[in-house]
Amino acid sequence: MRTLLVALALVLSACSAGQDGPTTITFWDNNGGPGRTPIYQELIKRFEAANPDIKVEYVGIPSSSVQQKYDTAIAGGSTPDVGGVTTSYLAHLVGQDALEPADDRVEGGPLKGKLLSGLLETVRQTAPDGKLYAVPASGNLDVIWYRSDRFAEARISEPSTWDDLVKAATQLTKPAENQYGFTIRGGAGSVFQLLSEAYSYSGIEKFYDGGKSTVSDPRNAELVRKVAELYKKATPEADVNNSYTQMVAQFTGGTVAMMHHNLGSTADVMKALGPERVSAMPLPKGPSGKRTVVPNPTDGFAVFKGSKNRDAAWKFVEFLTSAESNGYWNEKVGQIPANTDVRGAEWIQKNPAVKMALGVLEDPATVIVPAPVYLPEYSSITKTDTEPLYQKVLLGQMSAQEFLDQLAAKLTTAQQEWEKRK
């Protein structure tokens, strides 16, 4: 058996060694599937036409397993040349010393000065050394999708504050008809969304104040309480275990009138309900009247250190983030293009959600409150440790303040440790 394996290994390696023609680079799409694969295939076709000496091998990774796939590949030393990454797990890849910094390539190449500074900043923040480990390609924003038709029918205007939203949610709830005003994300990914809700309400401008997490601020707790009080009163009972999947299904299925998600669900929402029945608005404001935004993870491309064809890999990344490709890609998926040359594109004018999101991000009055995704423990704290606690809050087994206190304590400890290492 062992000799068989060795023999097999020889045969296989002999096969892969004999490539004399064009350079081949592999590209892993971190969210492979029917929505995005064809877009990349088109872009790769264009790239290969322009660069006949480079072949790109596309591999679509299902998004639910992408972190595990990267972890395994890194540990086994079989990383791709280029990989799609988002800032929500970029820190893990950087921590494993898997990625090549992009600073010099961006500064010395055609992308210099072309990328949205806010997104560059978000990416830089994920690394302890402040370097750019991924070239941002698109930004996302938390939005409230709402049923404009039901709002019009009930003569309610678009809520601009959380209190308005709570009122509207209650008004639009008709349990007998299985209609609810709002839906809460109580399952996977809950705390991430909850934090952006809390900061949009409290108007607190920093995640840390003097090294201590501001998460447990009573103003944040107030919002958590308000949302939790909607549970079962103005939301379906199922919400306590909702991941985005169930949330979106409830919204597109017509059960709920408002849903907090992000631009990523544009295609689904529009396909199911159409622009005449659904609109997007930014997260409402709180009593302070300030617009504070916790940025959603930024999507981008990273070149892996293990790549043997880094020049070709960077060429591909530059191509993907060029104005033309970046515009094409973001138009198709409905997200915010990172390349500033795309800003004037016609399609943005025709996509109210993206236009609205750009408006929020460009508004000088908007304060960006970046979450500390650079902490190696960040996802473990906000997911494994505290998502079950938030469910306790929803089920009335824990108070909002107690929940945030626990979360804040963990975030503070992690931050202190991080400062020490920095």
Binding site: H92, N178, Q397
Partner: protein, 291 residues
């Protein structure tokens, strides 16, 4: 039976080889990592820490105990129900009736469905806006918006039912195959002795199936203990950790949180428990001791 000593070893050689190459080292590596602090995202902290992970697990981690208790409940309920229903099902489709072939392939078919798909289907089925309870509510049965996965009172039975859907055929297939090896003359002899259907089931069928039942329950128990995918996708272990099994907790720690050392320690705990359980079970059931 008289044996020449090399024969059995030659017969198990391929299996031993595969196990040696592909299973021994990975299992040993989990054991090794359980003695280490190992977080891939914080490599500077990594190192040998002896039994610290186990100390933390046993004394500082209530979730370990909670998940263990839930695992036991899950395995017991799931395997018990699968066995009983599977046996009934096997006996039913073992009878002669019109359309038996069709009925058989239909009731066995969920076994052929993958984990990803099973949860996908049941998420659709349980979904309060597009699922079966919404449909029932439209017909006036139950309340609209009923969410069996969202209600702490129903989340456990709902998850159990989902796994039953796929698991019962496992037992049914195995037991049906085993039923075929019961010699007819045993039944005939029992009938001649005046034994009724129930007596024949107790005195002929069950004893014959004993080894198969012992084996399949054991294998299934081990399998259900380590079954992560279904609960993970269906409930994520929630609400509020109510449905978190030990392996699910391992996945959250080792895969999601990258705390591989601690995840390995939890895995080793599961390993030891299963080993102990298996030995005890085989002893108590006197497996293989039948004449």
């Amino acid at each position: 039976m008289r044996t020449r000593t090399w024969a059995p070893y030659a017969l198990i050689a391929p299996t031993l080889l595969l196990m040696a190459v592909f299973l021994v080292y990975p299992i040993a590596s989990v054991g090794w990592f359980s003695l280490r602090q190992h977080t891939v995202t914080q490599p500077w902290k990594n190192g040998f820490i002896g039994f610290e992970n186990f100390r933390r697990m046993l004394f500082d981690d209530p979730l370990f105990w909670q998940s263990l208790v839930f695992s036991a409940k899950w395995v017991f309920v799931e395997v018990g129900l699968q066995l009983v229903l599977g046996l009934i099902l096997a006996l039913i489709v073992n009878e002669t009736f019109i359309g038996r072939a069709v009925a058989r392939s239909l009731v066995f078919s969920p076994w052929a469905v993958s984990g990803v798909l099973t949860t996908g289907i049941w998420i659709l089925l349980y979904n309060p806006s597009t699922g079966v309870f919404q449909q029932l509510a439209q017909w006036g049965i139950g309340d609209p918006g009923t969410s069996v996965l969202g209600d702490p009172a129903t989340v456990f039975p709902a998850t159990v039912v989902t796994e039953l859907w796929r698991g019962v055929p496992f037992f049914a297939i195995l037991l049906l195959a085993d039923l075929q090896t019961i010699p007819n003359d045993l039944y005939e002899a029992a009938s001649v002795d005046g034994a009724g259907r129930w007596r024949r089931f107790i005195s002929v069928t069950l004893p014959h199936l004993r080894d198969a039942i012992v084996l399949s329950t054991l294998l299934r128990a081990v399998w259900e203990f380590n079954n992560v995918d279904l609960i993970y996708t269906l409930t994520g272990g929630g609400p509020a950790n109510q449905t978190t099994t030990l392996p699910l907790y391992v996945a959250r720690k080792a895969v999601d949180s990258h705390d591989f050392g601690y995840g390995s320690a939890l895995t080793m705990a599961g390993f030891v428990i299963l080993l102990f359980f298996s030995i005890l079970y085989l002893r108590l059931s006197k497996f293989g001791s039948r004449a």
